[in-house]
């Protein structure tokens, strides 16, 4: 089981890195905010996972994950009906020390939730980047990918040190995932924000329904 988690984290580390770079080339990654959020998330996730072992049932966590999926799907569809945002509209557009601390704090809170629910964190980061911090969708997705790569790297390192990463399986999954990721990132970077919101909302709705049936 640990090898499955370690191998999956390995894929989660490499793939979003390529995806984030694809968004970065189009100016759709807030590098500084992403790094501060990632540092907070890595710290928070450790604490969250420790509490999760003691307090939360598997069933509750699965339901929480589905809830986040549908919340995200609804948010994206609502957002697609509203005017497109500019980068300058986003909070934390200027990263002074106050905003850095806010970013770090948000990262810690999301990290704790991520550790509690066992999710990679991408979904919650996307939700907060878009709804709380008012990032445009493309930038939210690009920055979320960067954060995911960094948080997954922290987990992968630990699993790899304990030889709980199947690198041969991981390599096959990663190569395929990078190809798929670059293709869909290319598509995402070409469509308008409204279209992207609808696409992403649709994907989350499908994943939410799939998870209900899989449970």
């Amino acid at each position: 089981m640990h090898t499955a988690v370690g191998t999956s984290l390995f894929v989660d580390m490499i793939t979003p890195l390529f995806v984030a770079y694809s968004y970065y080339k189009r100016g759709n990654v807030n590098l500084k905010a992403g790094l501060w959020l990632a540092v907070g998330a890595i710290l928070g996730a450790q604490a969250g996972a420790l509490v999760a072992n003691e307090a939360l049932s598997s069933d509750l966590m699965s339901k929480g994950f589905v809830f986040f999926m549908f919340l995200m799907a609804i948010s994206m569809w609502i957002k697609s009906t509203r005017p497109t945002r500019e980068v300058s509209d986003s909070k934390l557009a200027i990263l002074n020390w106050k905003n850095r601390l806010i970013t770090l704090g948000i990262g810690i809170i999301l990290g704790v939730i991520s550790g509690l629910f066992g999710a990679g964190g991408g979904l919650m980061f996307l939700l907060v980047l878009m709804i709380v911090l008012k990032f445009p969708t493309h930038m939210a997705i690009g920055t979320s990918s960067l954060i995911m790569a960094l948080t997954a790297a922290s987990g992968t390192l630990g699993y790899a040190l304990q030889e709980n990463v199947d690198f041969s399986t991981g390599a096959i999954l990663t190569v395929a995932a990078v190809i798929g990721g670059l293709l869909s990132a290319r598509l995402a970077n070409r469509v308008s924000e409204k279209t992207l919101n609808r696409l992403v909302g649709g994907v989350f709705a499908c994943l939410g329904v799939a998870m209900i049936f899989l449970q």
Partner: protein
């Protein structure tokens, strides 16, 4: 063992989701690459950050 074709398919779907949404769908994928192809429970997934 999982056939290579299935691994490639899982990887492709993962990548498509990551590239489009910025989220990994890691929970569902992790369930499909368990060591012995069986499913494993959420209590294992939530340990992903604990090394």
């Amino acid at each position: 063992m999982i056939p290579v074709e299935i691994k490639i398919l899982i990887g492709l779907v993962t990548g498509l989701v990551v590239g489009l949404t910025g989220a990994s769908g890691g929970g569902s994928r992790r369930a499909s690459i368990d060591d012995d192809l069986g499913l494993f429970h959420a209590h294992c997934r939530r340990n992903q950050f604990v090394c």
